[in-house]
Amino acid sequence: MSFEISKEKNEIKENEKSAINIALAGNPNVGKSVIFNQLTGLSQTIGNWPGKTVEKKTGSLDFLGYKFRIVDLPGIYSLSTYTLEEIVSRQYIISDEVDLIINVIDATNLERNLFFTFQLLDLKVPMILAINQMDILRKRHINLNFEKLEEIFKLPVLPVVAVHGKGVHELLEEAIEMVVYKFPHSHYNGTEPENCSHHGHDYYREVHLSDQNNTPNECSREKFEFPDLNELFEYGKEIEYKIKRLQSEIEKHNKQISKFKYPSRFLAIKLLEEDSEIIEIFGKNPDLGYILKNAEKYRNELENMHGEDIHTIISSEIYNKINKIIDEVQEIQPEKERKHDRLTDKLEHITTHSFFGYIILILVILGVYYFTFNFGDFFGGLIDGGFSKLSEYVYNTFGEENIFISVLWDGGVGGFFGAISGVLVYVVPFFLIIEILQDSGYLPRVAFLMDRAMHAIGVHGKSIITMILGFGCNVAGCAGCRIMETEREKRISIALTSLIPCAAVLTVVMGLVGRYLGIGWVLLLFIINFAVILLVGRILNKSMPGSCTELIMEMHEYRRPNFSVILKQTWVRSKEFIFKALPLLVILGISLEIILIFRLLDPINIILSPITVVWLGLPAVTGVFLIYGILRKELTLALLLILADSIGITLLGLLSPIQIFVFSLVTMLYVPCFATIVVIAKQTDWKYALQITLLEITIALLIGGSIYWIYTIFMAI
């Protein structure tokens, strides 16, 4: 079985038409992204909490001679309109871009997962059920009857252990069978004759399709018929009657309706459910107005009869069906009662405990910083020491006054080593810890503990998760704010997340304040930063209309962190840093040397000096560094180091302790980095992104200046 992985995006676009297009859909946290990564070799974020994938992501691969284009969708619980993701996903699933859905199901949570499966089935798109996390199910001594499942759903149902890559490629084999052999309306058929003679194709047929009556010289045999699942769907009498009535009314207008691609039964149910998107479709067309009226009448009748609202009625119907199915297919081996994992239970208990939970939270946060600081300080010192030895040697051989040496060695190589010893050594351990926190499942516990406190700043507990991600990188954190349900909460979360000191800021603070002033001052900086977050949260909460919604979140069991996943993701993030920031630093380092030699910085520094020199009491050179810092915040520190190095003094010769403190504080707060601003604009709009930026500049200057002046006045007395 040989398959290649192609990662280029353009390639994907080109091949869109001839590839088999598969969408991975399912509940949050079931393992969709693990499967996606296994198949495409890409690295989507994986972790043990719901809501990691916030935007659909495309990858591709070749397998058995076929091209596949795979799309990883955000996890959702239903195809209603509760969140934006739900509408976007269902529109995508019925679009021409999808040939087949792989519905990824968490075997340990069948009931809730099958609820979503029922919704997907209503869309009548070819589908494979992938029952994932079978390893855990087996550990619990629960058997699943796959044959029975296939019999019930009349669709392929396959066992998968995504983390070990088991059963993953079998999904594709099944996909070939469904799309190529039974479903002629797919894009794939456009290039069918060519693929007919394909080697992989023949191999495939011999091995897997020998028992089918496909004739070899005919490519598209029967049309893929979506199985008749009427029996499975059959709800209670009254509901079913009303659905059928609506359905037949809708089918009379097939011409107008068919362009929306939703099957008539799906439309009928959604009309009953008062689904905003579907109602809009019908509302636009005067011919269909009467259907809307009927739907409303039926809904009222049903709600009156049951004394419940329509969602409850329909959900109960589905859950009743599911209960019956589960009774049929699931068998718990009684003699081997599920052995409780003692350690997870204890961990679960203590990390959500009303007292120890908070103690542990504080310890975790302190531990993260302590570990990062010590790790970085130790290795940073080693590298610095090594570099000075090397420098001595270089100066001795080439002479210190050599202009080329000063540009290339101090600027280029110095920039490189400065970035490693000043920045990378802090970033890597920090990323590592964030990944461990993500993959263990600790984050939802923090949301549980902090939900109440977060209400004070206008958001619910989930927002703390995006803020913790923001510690790693504000860009990721702000993008993650899409998991917030309302626009108001999304905006507040974004503003707060953009104020979180990210890994880059952390390096500046650790490398400057930590190294030269001591860890106590670092703590003070963080306290100021969090006070600012609280303040901004309160202001936004008061000023934005509306109120805070309530938390509804699934909290998955702890999992032993998967170290290969953690190391891989830490590497992916660090790699991003290495390949983006390091070259930039080397180039900037070299250009800085040249600029310094020719005194090109002076004009900019003079323009900025009323702010930097007069108000903040910093040396004039810092003006340009702060501008570079908008690009990437760690540049402020790295460039300072390069500058000090090229003048031949230590940082303490360049900045006094109070200047170090003020400079770090301003770097911490003064503006989200450029990439973050872009993400904020994408998630909301440019106006909001600029508002946040302006707000943060004001806050940084206000606090930074005040501290400097208070200090100056204090010293003068």
Partner: protein, 95 residues
């Protein structure tokens, strides 16, 4: 159609309470949910519907959210919403 009708006087002794009033560890049956449409829909999707059996596991301090066991998995629900879910105790627990 539904397994349990949500009538308050179903078993005579058992009291209808809101979720926040119940003790930790109690096994409960949902009677009804009095929230807005959106939250109700989400809860229904997650399996919190009249008649479903749930266990209140714990609640966070300072009037924090409530953790429930629903269909074998944990669901956390904000305090304000939990107060709108009415339940009945399955075993004797008139406290």
């Amino acid at each position: 159609m539904r397994r349990v009708k949500g009538t308050p006087t179903h078993q005579g002794i058992s009291l209808i309470k809101c979720l926040t009033e119940c003790n930790d560890g109690q096994e409960l049956t949902v009677v009804n949910v009095n929230s807005g449409r959106g939250a109700k829909m989400r809860l229904a999707n997650l399996g919190i519907i009249p008649g479903s059996k749930i266990i209140k596991k714990q609640s966070a301090p300072f009037r924090g959210p409530v953790e429930l066991n629903v269909k074998g998995t944990s669901i956390v629900i904000g305090r304000g919403l939990a107060a709108k879910i009415n339940v009945r105790c399955n075993n004797d627990c008139q406290t």
